[in-house]
Symmetry: C2
Subunit: 346 residues, 2 copies
Amino acid sequence: MSKDRITVVDVAEAAGVSKSTVSLVLQASPLVNEATRARVQAVIRDLGYVYNRGAANLRQSKSRIVGIVVNDLTNSFFAELAVGVDQVVQSAGYVQFLANTGENVDRQREVIASMMEHGISGLVVSPARGTTAQDFKPLVAAGIPVVIVVRNIAGSKVSSLMADNHGGVYQAVEHLAGLGHCRIAFLGGFADTAVFAERMQGYREAMEKVGLGVSDDLVIGSAPSRAGGVDAVGRALSLADRPTAAVCFNDAVAFGACDGLRARKLEPGIDFAVVGFDDVIEAKAAVPALTTVSVDPQGMGGRAAQLLLKQINSGKAEAEAIVTSVRLAVRESSRGGLNASGRKSA
Amino acid sequence: MSKDRITVVDVAEAAGVSKSTVSLVLQASPLVNEATRARVQAVIRDLGYVYNRGAANLRQSKSRIVGIVVNDLTNSFFAELAVGVDQVVQSAGYVQFLANTGENVDRQREVIASMMEHGISGLVVSPARGTTAQDFKPLVAAGIPVVIVVRNIAGSKVSSLMADNHGGVYQAVEHLAGLGHCRIAFLGGFADTAVFAERMQGYREAMEKVGLGVSDDLVIGSAPSRAGGVDAVGRALSLADRPTAAVCFNDAVAFGACDGLRARKLEPGIDFAVVGFDDVIEAKAAVPALTTVSVDPQGMGGRAAQLLLKQINSGKAEAEAIVTSVRLAVRESSRGGLNASGRKSA
DNA sequence: CTGTTAGCGCATTCAC
DNA sequence: GTGAATGCGCTAACAG
C-alpha cells in the first residue's frame, strides 16, 4: 500500500513549491503566503504526510522528549507521580520515555544510558535503592537537566524535589501531643535511608519541642511494610510503660499497626492513636481511624516536570532543591480519641 | 564544559581509524580486528562518546521504540499492565513512550500522532472510552503494528488482546450454581460497552447451561463503581424473589455490593455470595469473603508486548485476536457459604 | 579488514 | 515570499 515514507519533497512537488516553503508552513511561519499555505496543508493532509521529528531533532540537535524512570510503577504512589509528570509534559508538547526499574540499579543504569542515546533533553527520576551520585555523572556531563524525586541522593549535583518528611512527622507529633498523648512511639522503617533519617529527625525535634523528650525504647524499627507494622506495634504494646500513640514510618506500617491493634481487641484511633506517612497511597479508601501525613504524588510529579522544563528552557540551570509541603489529614473518627478512652494524662 | 556533542568522527580520528570502522565496532560487527576494536572502545570510553540513536534511526528508517498509551494509569490495573509491557520491551532492547489519556479521546489522538511523528515502530493501547476504528487508520496506513488491550474496538483491523470476559463470568456462574445457588443476579455495569456485552453473554449462557434460565429482573444495571454496587445490591435485595448470590460486573461493583450487604447486617460470602471481576485490582488485599474472576494485568501487558514485537520483527503481520484466560479465585471464607446459612435449595 | 562516498528527512542561511 | 545549497550523526554499499 503506502510506498515508502512520504517526505517534505513529496509534498513540495505535489504542491508545486520548494521544500523550504513546506518546512515553513510546518512550523507555522508567518513568512508564507496564505494561499500557498492552504494549498500545502491540503496536500499534506490528503497525501498523509507525517512529520519526521527524528530528522528535525537531528538537524537542530535538540529534542522535545524527556525521560522518566521510576523504581516501582506498581506502587500507586509512583503511578500517580508518573501521571503528574505526564500531564505537564504532554501539555508542553513533549513526549516521555518511561521506564520502570523495579529497584534494580543496573537496569536503571541501562535505561538511563538508553535514554541518553535517544537524546532526551531532561530526566526526572525516582532513584532505585542503592543509586549513587555516580549514576548521574553522564547526565550532568552532557548538561542534561535531572530532577530527582521522592528519594534524595547525597552528593548528586542535580535538582531534587522531596516531600517534607521532617515537617510531616513534626506535625504529626504535635497533633498527637495536642490530643494529650505523652508516650508517643515511632514505629517502623530501616535506619539506612535518607527518608528515614529525615522523618526520625522530625520526630526527635518535635518530641523535644513539645516537652516530651525522646526515649530510645519508643523508637521501634521494623520492615517498612504491613507485616512490619504488626510486629512493631506488638513490641510497642509490650513495653513496660506503654505508649498511647504512635507515628509510623509510612502508611504500610500504619496499616500493619492497626491490624496489630485489632488483633488485640484494641481499636485504632480510640484505644491507640496512629499516624502514618502517606507513601503508598493505599490509604485512599482505607482505615477511617487513621490520621495520615499526606503527600500529593500527582502534584509532586507535576512540579517536578515543571522544574525540569524550566531548566531545559533556560538552557540548563544549576541544581535546585525544593521541598513540597505535606498536610495532616485527620479523620473524623480519630479526633479526641484520647478522651474517649479515658486515658488522658496530666 | 563539554564542547559540542562528540561524534563518530571524533572517536575515529582520536583512534586513528575511519568512521565506518567505529560504526562497525559500535554494532559489534565481527568484521573488525580485535586490536582496533579494543582501541576504539577505549577511546569511546574515555572520550565519553554517546551513540546517537536518532541519527541511526533516521539513516535506517526504523526505530527501536514503541508507544504505549493507557486510559488511566492511576488505576493499578493499567499501571501493572504498563509494567508488564515495559518489562518485555526493555529486555528486547526497546524503549517506550508512555502516555496517559485519562479517557480523553482527543488527547489520545494527539499523543498517537505525536508518537507517529517520533517514528514508533509499534503501539500498544488500551483505548479511551469513545475510541473508534477511525483512530487507528493512520497507524495501519503507515503499516505500524498496533495491539489493542483490555477493551476491544469493533471494526479496527488491528490486533487485540482481551481478557476472557465471557468465560470468566461463565465460570463464576457455574461456581455459584455448584454451591447450590438458584437465584443468581448480575449486578452493575452499563450496557454500552463491548466488555459489558461479553460478560453479560457469559452470564446468560451459563445460566441456561446450568438450567437456571435467565429472568430479566435478575439483571440489575448500575454505574460500574463502588457506589453503583451498593445501589444495585440494594435493589436486588428488595426483589420479591430474592437472589442469594450475584456476580458483579467488576470488582468495584462487588466491593459496593459487600458494603451494601454489611449495611443491612448481612455478611458477604455467608448470607449472600458475591463474585467480582477483577478489573481494578484494589482486590489485592481486600474483602476476604469475595470470590473474584481474576485477570493478571502484568501478564497481559507482557503478552501484548510480545505480540507487538513479533509483528514488528516479522515486518507486519495481519491482525490477530487473542483472548487471555482468567481464573476464579475462591477465598476460603466464601466456600460453601450457602450451607452455612441454611439457605440451600432443591 | 579498513577507508570512501552517499544519502536518511529536515531546517537553515542565503540569494532571487 | 520563495528556491537552491549545506550539514546534523550515522549506516550502507563499494573500493582499496
